[in-house]
Amino acid sequence: MDESIYLDEARDPLIIAEGWMKDGKDVAIATVVETWGSAPRPIGSHLVIDAEGNFHGSVSGGCVEGAVVTEAMDVIGSGKARMLEFGVADETAWQVGLSCGGRIKVYVERLG
């Protein structure tokens, strides 16, 4: 359990996003805005992505981050925010999903 009362600057996604911004990089911020059932990460959790596909933080237990990063590249390009929804993984389909059985909504926006 993390017991520090101070920010973990080296791993905090919002601190990292600000650092990227100062370095002149294009950045997208993904945020869990709604959850249903057993979602792996709480509402408000962030994943931050740069234009090269580097990312920090998480919006799930690793199940959907790949898809969010791909969408984030488009958002960085277009500047238009997107709302993504992920549900239970369907074994017969190609789509990504959450193995835990929950559903999440992720808002992806460009920084600036």
């Binding site: 017991e3 009362i5 600000e18 911004m21 945020t31 805005v33 509402i43 408000g44 926006e109 920084l111």
Partner: protein
């Protein structure tokens, strides 16, 4: 997200101040609301709730959908006095989610043997609090019984608007303490925030039972802090 919002958000988080980021999910516009800022209507009520509970959520107001992301500092408990009560309080509070720091300049009391796995400062509160100031997400319990050690920390806790301030001692002891704090420049309404005798009245007798009473009072103060401050000076 507006770059200025991100910069401000990180500044506030580093300074251990609570903020809510309000994002209009329709047009993507966002802004920072600080604790105590006045926001009218249903949105204002939802923001106040986010500050109080620490829960982030989407809310429909004024015909729009907003996402409220609550960023609250982690609460902590600073204990003045490396005494028997503190030995029980430190592990209990940590389990309850309130990391503890203990300050006591008496090196015979403040030893790592008596306090394993606790942030322990064998120094005067004046020196420690200069480095790591108190804030409104910190609780302070003064349990040394010694005015030379307790008084400065109590005054500092009142000035920093700590969400909980408790002081060990009988009513008689506390009456004398009130006089001293008044002399130090504390206001009567500030001093009235001190919980003394310390702890919820559960009939605690042993040091460990007193620790339970102090922890329960701390939790109550934290969970009701938004309600308590309603109507108070913003």
């Amino acid at each position: 997200m507006d770059p200025y919002v991100l910069k401000t958000l990180n500044e506030e988080r580093r300074a251990r101040r609570a903020v809510v980021v309000v994002t209009d999910l329709g047009d993507g516009r966002d802004r920072i609301v600080r604790e105590g800022d006045q926001v009218a209507g249903d949105l204002g009520a939802a923001i106040a709730n986010a500050f109080r509970t620490g829960n982030s959520r989407s809310v429909d107001a004024e015909g729009r959908t907003f996402f409220l992301n609550a960023h609250r500092p982690r609460p902590r408990l600073v204990v003045i006095g490396a005494v028997h009560i503190s030995q029980a309080l430190a592990p209990m509070a940590r389990i309850a989610g309130y990391p503890v720091e203990i300050i006591d300049p008496r090196t015979a009391f403040a030893t790592p043997e008596r306090f394993p796995d606790v942030a322990l400062h064998a120094e005067w509160p004046e020196d420690v609090l200069k480095r790591a100031p108190l804030d409104s997400y910190t609780a302070l319990a003064a349990v040394t019984h010694d005015p030379k050690i307790d008084d400065f920390a109590l005054k500092a806790a009142l000035d920093a608007r700590c969400f909980y301030v408790g002081a060990l001692g009988s009513r008689k002891t506390h009456a004398k303490r009130v006089e001293r704090l008044l002399a130090l420049g504390a206001g009567a309404n500030q001093i009235a925030r001190i919980h003394a005798p310390i702890g919820l009245d559960i009939g605690a007798a042993s040091p460990a039972e007193i620790a339970v009473a102090v922890l329960a009072q701390t939790i109550h103060a934290f969970r009701s802090r938004g309600l308590e401050e309603k109507g108070a000076v913003a």
